[in-house]
Amino acid sequence: MPIFQSLFDIIGPVMVGPSSSHTAGAVRIGLAARSIFGEHPEEVNITLYGSFAHTYKGHGTDLALIAGLLGFSTESVEIKKAYEVAAKRGMKVQLYTSDELTEHPNTVTLCMRKGERALCVTGISTGGGMIDITDIDGFDVHVSCDEPVVLVFHQDRPGLIAAVSSVLAKEDVNISQMEVSRKERGEIALMLLATDIEIPERAMRAIEAIPDIGPIVYLSALKRDADALESQLEG
């Protein structure tokens, strides 16, 4: 399979500089983390690893992550003011760097808190603005945000996976990728379903109604192009 197929793989994406991996990808990780958390965090602890830890200042990786966490557009002026905007909107940010070795050089962990609720998300930036969310609160996952994904926290018991997938089948939503992750047998597990098309609201409600299903998070696909991303955020 050739790597490049579209003219827009070459002439594009439109992005905020200076680096597709250290800046544009970081915005997307921030946006993904915010969507997974589902609300505006009061406090965020950011831990940078590897190349992110060493070069974040010059690439504005911290600003890009905060901009994503704030959920605002990737316009350059806005991104540069990310710390000020975060302070204004009551989002306390702490930045840490770690020498710990990670599998991928561009790794970041974002721990978000609002009131009693807290959630940690780890993501990597793999180049060209592409990302992979690799950990959600200790659950191993892979979320590229290139396609819609539904995250279902549920009790680890037989039959639940079939119940969820049959709801999607009824709605004619094709599952392109599926992962199940759990920490301990019989405890809380995380089911991750990537789909070809956006999942209708009523399917989400039907999944929620299944017994032993905990919180559900729905992530729309995040565009890689800054312009498209912006209109998506406005819309």
Binding site: L7, G12, V14, P18, S20, S51, T55, G58, K80
Partner: protein, 298 residues
């Protein structure tokens, strides 16, 4: 097209009296994601981003690290007040290329062409020559389409990434893409575009990626200037009838092969070359200590 060689695309176009832009546009339509009108519209939006970046860069911007900035403005003032020694369009292309890359380093919005670090070259040349060549808006979009299609062929047979193939894969490829497009915009044949691509790429073979403090600034920004000027020379040589002795597809493969032989220290890791000079190490240390640098630090 994705696995086809450039020479096959050239023969296809010449046999059917078709432009490279038409050929590459047809293939984009065949992907089935967008209609012709949508493709042209998206490409025009990219062109607008490029134009805005040049305009902003010429006003003078500073990089986020403080390491670079203001050179496009200096070049613009020199060009308008002093007048360059050579043809002003060469210098204008260089100035535009620097402007876009300075905007990139300032966390402005750019269009990666093919990468962020080499994003100044194709638009730098296009914007400097569009009036001279009387290019309509559609012809300017075709310039980007021919550049993009040429980039697909280079990327699939060699590389477009500094981490994989050194700077030759980024600035070298961008320069080759611009050379092929400039020949077509000037009325040259597809075969001449192929020679321009080959000549431009050959001139930059072996170029290493050794960014100071791993930033997309030094030497990336100035290399966009040389990539732009190199594209123009290669295009003019091809238009004059000069042929590359080594066929275009062999040049592309040679670039990929050199990239694979290149030590890791010279492929974006900042472990060798300019990135390990005493001054670069000092800049790296200051950036780690202070976050940013300024003129007084050098």
């Amino acid at each position: 097209m994705y696995i086809e060689q450039y020479k096959d695309i050239v023969s296809h176009c010449e046999a059917r009296n078709k432009t490279l832009a038409r050929y590459f546009l047809n293939h984009e339509i065949d992907l089935g994601d967008q209609t012709e009108a949508e493709i042209l519209q998206q490409m025009e939006r990219n062109l607008e981003v490029m134009e805005q970046a040049v305009a902003l860069g010429l006003e003078g911007v500073k990089s986020f690290s403080g390491l670079t900035g203001g050179d496009a403005k200096r070049m613009h003032e020199y060009m308008t007040k002093v007048s360059p020694l050579g043809d002003s369009r060469y210098f204008e292309a260089a100035q535009n290329a620097v402007a876009i890359n300075e905007v990139n380093a300032s966390m402005g919005i750019i269009c990666a062409t093919p990468t962020a670090g080499s994003s100044g070259i194709v638009p730098g040349v296009l914007i400097a020559f569009r009036d001279r060549l009387g290019l309509s808006r559609r012809a300017q979009i075709d310039f980007l389409i021919t550049s993009g299609g040429s980039g697909i062929v280079i990327g699939n047979h060699a590389s477009l990434s500094g981490a994989a193939g050194g700077c030759q894969a980024e600035v070298g490829s961008a320069s080759a893409m611009a050379a092929a497009a400039l020949v077509e915009a000037a009325g040259g044949t597809p075969s001449e575009s192929g020679h321009a691509l080959a000549i431009a790429l050959k001139n930059l073979l072996g170029l290493t990626c050794d960014p100071v403090a791993t930033l997309v600034e030094v030497p990336c920004i100035k290399r966009n200037a040389i990539g732009a000027v190199n594209a123009i020379v290669a295009a003019e040589m091809a238009l004059a009838g000069v042929k590359s002795r080594i066929p275009v597809d062999e040049v592309i493969l040679a670039m990929g092969s050199i990239g694979r032989m290149m030590p890791v220290a010279l492929r974006e890791t900042a472990l060798g070359g300019l990135a390990q000079t005493p001054t670069a190490r000092k800049i790296d240390r200051l950036l780690k200590e202070q976050g940013t640098v300024d003129e007084s630090d050098f």
